[in-house]
Subunit: 327 residues, 2 copies
């Protein structure tokens, strides 16, 4: 079984690869558990500090169709398509977002289609597909109304993946991820970058800026659960999805104020003192357009599980990332 | 004021052009009523029997970017983008549907964006963006879940037009048309072609096939009201749309059995005897996935109006099309 992970040098891509290497197998489209013989990580840069005989690395731009053709071939059983231009960046550079988030996704689907063996494609989408006037709890039946180019591009790729799956070109599944918190590493250009920064930096005694108001409600998932969900979403049979391949994954609904309170409970006031509150209207507008909670009964029925509460997410971050040398 | 109509040789495009020539003016983005100096009809074939000094015709493939560049220029105030591959054809030829319904729409938006003066773009979408498990009455807040490639392509173009409008690249508006009945002329490859055929052919003493069951519920609008809606949708100020440029237009909810009953009331049993009932599973599946009714309070508040009932649609068809020499 040969797996391709686009965005493989990114935080989720690397974690997924490490977990898959540990796990050693996945379920294919026919429902058979198969040994993973190769994981190919595709990204603009090579991931650091990873070594395994089953691991292969291909560097380049995911919107380069020749690179994708090189990556995905007749032996590819499954593709985890994680490569994306994040929300803040896609808002600042429209054409870049279109090229990576839309065109590359479509080219990837077309290559998978051309192979004729209907590989599994796991695509990550986002809370950002929602926007406008939303019910307090978003349902699977709630209309998408993205208020950012990132959200529009993700919503379009969702539609493509659904139609490619309906037609039998690929065996696709879209997992709408809550905002992932706490991400290790450095801040990025996602509008939601602060949702990790306000925990990660203070825990390391560093200053951080919170660009939104404390009452802003976020829908969050820990990295651990996100990786669990990617694997569970891959292994489900296509028939489990019915007439829609998109799943709203379980998260927890927390306000920014509650996040800071959880941080204080775990690490004391000395930690929360590192947060400077400096409103950024663009970030507030983009992240404020996302739902703070969605109904996850479909995901739960399909076996997906979320986190217990935000405090346990903070503790898991300390355990997984701050104590590890190789975050 | 220079207007471009793609699909200008099609039934709706021609009617729209004729109506605009009669009307003589439209409201521009600044809210000013302006005289129409030119209407350019773009289509694969030239429209027949039309002549007016303000009319210009450009033939070619709307997915040809050079043709679009020739059609839309710095003087273009408004574009009515009606060109499309219909539902049945887009289901049979996936790549053709993608090229016309998606790629051409995107190229058109990119050309409008490149002009820098934010032309109005009126885009027609369809009931086909809905599908799967639907409430009895679809709301604006109901999620899209297209079950045909046509529906997926239209839904994607809607998202593009919304994002291009949000970013200020164009002043777009999407009008989701009910199934148009009664269309004059010949049957086409739309899955819903029968919705006109079962009225049009019997009224002319011709045999026709109804490929769906009598209890199938359709959401219908007459050609007259469709043209009214295109013009009203064009003339609304962009601010009227709030954070979503898509409007579900008013229609009437009628079962196929009720349509045939209205035909019988207007034209007697001698007419309905021309209908042969021969189920076609593909047509039943595609059209059966569309909503039979949607809530149109938003459209009504914005001033759009639908038909009174199906019987008056049949009578209007006889008046407008069967008595006219130039249908």
């Amino acid at each position: 079984m040969k797996i391709v992970i686009t965005g493989g040098a990114g935080f989720l891509g690397r974690r997924l690869a490490i977990r898959l290497l540990e796990k050693g197998s996945l379920t294919d489209s026919a429902g058979h558990v198969r040994i993973i013989s190769e994981i190919l990580l595709v990204d603009v840069v090579a991931p650091e500090g990873m070594s395994d005989p089953r691991l292969r690395i291909l560097t380049g731009d995911v919107s380069d169709i020749e690179l994708l053709r090189q990556a995905i071939d007749g032996a590819t059983t499954s593709v985890f398509h994680l490569a994306a231009v994040v929300s803040g960046q896609a808002e600042l550079d429209f054409d870049l977002g279109m090229r990576i988030n839309l065109d590359a996704s479509r080219q990837l689907l077309e290559i998978c289609r051309s192979l004729g063996h209907k590989p599994k494609v796991v695509f990550t989408s986002s809370v950002a597909v929602y926007g406008g006037k939303l019910p307090e709890v978003v349902q699977d039946s709630t209309a998408l109304n993205p208020q950012s180019s990132y959200g529009a591009q993700k919503a379009i790729a969702e539609l493509l993946l659904n139609d490619f799956s309906r037609r039998g070109f690929v065996d696709g599944r879209v997992l709408r991820l809550p905002t992932i918190s706490v991400r290790p590493g450095k801040p990025n250009k996602a509008a939601s970058s602060f949702a990790s920064g306000i925990i990660r930096e203070p825990l390391q005694g560093q200053e951080t800026v919170c660009p939104v108001s404390p009452d802003l409600r976020l829908w969050l998932q820990s990295p651990r659960k996100a990786i669990d969900s990617l694997i569970a979403g891959h292994d489900l049979p296509g028939s489990a999805f019915g007439n829609n391949r998109t799943i709203n994954l379980p998260g927890i609904s927390v306000s920014v104020g509650e996040m800071v309170a959880a941080l204080e409970k775990v690490a004391g006031q000395s930690a929360t003192q590192h947060i400077r509150w400096e409103p950024d209207p663009l970030v507030q507008r983009i992240v404020g357009s996302w739902p703070g909670c969605w109904d996850t009964s479909r995901a739960t029925a399909l076996g997906f599980a979320g986190d217990a509460d935000f405090e346990s997410i903070v503790r898991a971050f300390i355990e997984d990332d701050l104590s590890a040398t190789n975050a």
